[in-house]
Symmetry: C2
Subunit: 233 residues, 2 copies
């Protein structure tokens, strides 16, 4: 036999079966899957095995199970994807520092790439993002959300899905470590740096974008209160 004996659990087969159906649009995102009792009989398996499959899909972020209601299809988000990594980094101060250092390595390159690929249609998006930041800062609120959106916008402009995914995942990890994205301490400074980054990207000047981003991230680390943050309970 070419297959040395593929012993696959029943629920595993159902998982890939359902994944196929989800991907090809039979079960679109947001729609409700048939009830467990019905699907299990339709697949000719026990409800136990069907439930096991559902549980796996939930862990992978493809469905959301709501007791008394039903099971709904959804797209995996960064929080879900980062979950398996949480264990590895749990409770390590060093891990938090490594995460920040990682951003300092990667994001300048992403900014440079974004500068290479920015088009006129990105102009509005950046202007809009910056405007929102100014508004929030004017109201005296923290601009954590806006900061996040800004960095995401850069990753999107770079047009590399892997980069986007990795950064999103790591951002989810950072907030899980309760060190927070930490911007907002000096909103005026943050926004000024963002403006310089955006200008460099829109001017299609990779080198300037890289440099501006590196400077920005270095400032973020230095003004952070990482040392006083509690990582473990």
């Amino acid at each position: 036999m070419s297959t040395p004996v593929r012993k696959v659990k029943l629920s595993d087969m159902v998982v890939s079966e359902l994944l196929t159906l989800i991907r090809n649009g039979t079960y679109a995102s947001g729609s409700r899957l048939p009830a467990e009792r019905e699907l299990s009989s339709r697949f000719k398996i026990s409800r136990t095995s069907l439930r096991d499959a559902f549980r796996q899909l939930e862990l992978l972020g493809y469905v959301e199970i709501r007791q008394g209601d039903g099971t709904y299809v959804r797209a995996p988000d960064s929080d879900t994807l980062s979950r398996p990594f949480q264990g590895l980094l749990a409770g390590s101060q060093q891990a938090a520092l490594d995460l920040l250092e990682f951003r300092r390595m990667l994001e300048p390159e992403v900014a440079a790439l974004a500068a290479q690929r920015a088009t006129s249609k990105h102009q509005d998006a950046f202007a809009c993002a910056l405007e929102r930041q100014r508004e929030v800062a004017a109201r005296g609120e923290r601009l954590s959300r806006e900061d996040l959106a800004f960095h995401q916008l850069i990753a999107q402009t770079a047009g590399n899905t892997v980069t986007l995914q990795v950064l999103d995942t790591l951002r989810a990890l950072l907030s899980d470590l309760r060190t927070s994205a930490l911007p907002g301490h000096f909103p005026a400074l943050t926004i000024a740096q963002h403006e310089r980054i955006a200008a460099a990207i829109l001017a299609r000047d990779p080198e300037a974008a890289r440099h501006a981003m590196l400077e920005h991230l270095t400032a973020v680390v230095e003004t952070s209160d990482l040392k006083s943050s509690r990582v473990l309970d």
Copy 2:
């Protein structure tokens, strides 16, 4: 209420319970967990729920379940961690290209960092790694494994666990996409480039290390047979 109602599944509680026991060493890596029937009665839950918890731990890579044998504790590896991402990149030629581009962004920075942090004790490791590559090349074999080990060594030298983890995970994804790491086409060239990278790192010259790595990765992409690779069946 700050907590709108924390409805947690039974198996979820058991999962975190078991994770704690695994982490604090009660169940060391490699050891066998008690049988499902025993553990379930010890936790005062049904075997079904206990099995559900086991299944989750397996998906997270913390245990390996062997029918007729038992459930064994192990450490999550890169293959396991990359699994949730496979779905997102599945069947996309663009994803493979993005992956390679991502490496080209990140690894030069990692090499530069490694150059900053290399110590004399790394000298032997690099010499050894290069030696193995020469041996394998001399036998006319592909040096995929040695290439992988070399890049891992650099990430280790950089001393950033996040970087190491991310690169390992992405490498697992790359091989899943069947595009292979693709080195070995011109082993002599590859090894020469590796030698230059290693020399720059050991000489603690970040700029040279960054440049050498970038050149290396660019060459890898250009000599690859990515265009002819089949990503989907």
